[in-house]
Symmetry: C2
Amino acid sequence: MPGISDVARLAGVSTATVSRALSGNGAVSAETRVRVTQAAASLGYVVSSDASSLASGRTRNVGVVVSHLSRWYFTAVIEGAQRVLLQRGYDVTLYNLGGEGEERPRVFEHHLLRGRVDAVIAVALKLTEDEIGRLLAIGKPVAGVGGPLPGASTVTIDDVHVGRLATEHLLALGHRRIAHLGGRPEFDLEFHVPTSRRLGYEAALLAAGIAPDPALSVAGDFTIPGGHEAARRLLEPALLESAQRRPTAVFAASDEMAIGAVLAARELGLSVPGDLSVIGVDDHPLAAFFGLSTVAQHVERQGEQVAELLLRTIDPPRRHGPAADDAPTTLHSPVDLVVRTSTAAPADHPTPTTRNA
Amino acid sequence: MPGISDVARLAGVSTATVSRALSGNGAVSAETRVRVTQAAASLGYVVSSDASSLASGRTRNVGVVVSHLSRWYFTAVIEGAQRVLLQRGYDVTLYNLGGEGEERPRVFEHHLLRGRVDAVIAVALKLTEDEIGRLLAIGKPVAGVGGPLPGASTVTIDDVHVGRLATEHLLALGHRRIAHLGGRPEFDLEFHVPTSRRLGYEAALLAAGIAPDPALSVAGDFTIPGGHEAARRLLEPALLESAQRRPTAVFAASDEMAIGAVLAARELGLSVPGDLSVIGVDDHPLAAFFGLSTVAQHVERQGEQVAELLLRTIDPPRRHGPAADDAPTTLHSPVDLVVRTSTAAPADHPTPTTRNA
DNA sequence: GTGAAAGCGCTAACAG
DNA sequence: CTGTTAGCGCTTTCAC
């Protein structure tokens, strides 16, 4: 492990110049820079991040806090964020608050405060004002993905819009009895995602002159088994009664639930989309395989976006006029309707209509 | 941000004593320890990891290198490893080599060498001798999960055994025409997992006096769509020819492929397990939902195990006699057969037989 | 554009 | 058991 002084000696300059040449901070003549760079390369010199951090106060590392890891959404965000961070020379330190344990306080009161990160990203996690406050107090910017954070910048999608978009697609196909697979109340803790999507669904129905039927709204847990179970709960009683009562379409608040619903429908002898149209949300990796129509969100992109947001404040591009303003921003990430083969006009209503009020 | 000297002043001792009291290194009288601890707590003091690392040479951080993130296996390993690491006060810095880009050399030649980690864990990634050598040369132990690493400790499962176990289960049920869904050659790069499982399958068949039929072995890519496609490729031609030729059971080298196969079978009008038994490997989170019989491996546990392995060398328990030997270990993690509802005796062979040679 | 020198905040001998 | 004293390997004024 050669040190900076080895490089300095070899290049015939001072350590200060080596530091400047290698970091790009401070002016160095072109030829000196070349000499230093070559010396460093020939020695295999890599700056010690600890020494550098200690002296400069900047770690070039950002913390990512998540509540789960083994779910598509979280890893997709992390992949996006990590990609841009790594490419800018930053490391990513991961804190998984998974287990119910005391991880959370430990992470916020110890790990994140020991100065190992320059900033933190919260993924679909509602931080308390206290948690955010403490970080901000020691000069660590905080940003989040997936919902509002008191006093921090975030990137999200408009979940009401998502619900509306999905429902309007079904209405436009001519469906009138449209069911909804949403989230359980306890699931609403994080940012009201389920509620917002349901609100959009109801708004779209209302705008089409249809009164939302509480009997058509059931709760799941956002997983495939959860969607399957919820869909059976919805469809089985309906099948026993009049065909009249049976919904002809389902809007599931996540693709995983939608996939569960498709599977449940098949089991009950209903063809999709012949007897039942199903639409989800996310554009999950499995959506295409199941031919699922969905409201796509671009999760990796969202990860890239938070990272960019954060970098703008901790690592502003060189030669910048007014400092990037520190006011919390909210960035709305786009969503778009992807129509595949799980949605079609209802059997008794072959001609798609445009929406009517 | 109070510093160690603030704590020292408040507790009426020297900074050295504070360091000793808080880190547990070096003897401190019980009452001094209490005073220091209280002083630290009342000030909200947290040691600066950079300063501490610089002075001590230990970072209390381990790097985890993965080739993907958005796959169940990888995140499960990370969750397990992170849990034990965090609980021992370690941070986890994640390096995702995902994209084809130049991430890999950058990570190995720069990020991992800048002294931010005490050790590195490779998850289902084959490191070159050079990559491992460089890390070892600067005193960073390396350990891996999912396959042998030249010169490093690892935890794995016995994949030949896995293949044998699954196949023996099908044989014991009375199946004779047993197909295999394995991996494409290019998939074999990482540790020969697909090949080993197939070898176990063939060994079991041979032991039962059955010659493996190349036509019954098809390749997939370890995903649900991949398994689905492979299963169709296997079953469709067979269905067109004599029922004789059709396999009565399938051993898929991963649960995801097995799920794809179950779905494909249903589409082709075959009932599982009535017409076709299917068994996978992993005990994937969706396995139970699909009633999939499988050879379970305990992935999170494997993550815990590598972490423990590594900690033993970088953070040996206090009062230890001979230092933990540094010779690379290979730890075989157990697997076990989980029988659910996707496997049963073949239709024409109602009585399960015991294996016969 | 470059060098000298003073730390960054802690830990680890070494005395006592 | 505790204090003193050197650094750990860089970055950054401040002069030149």
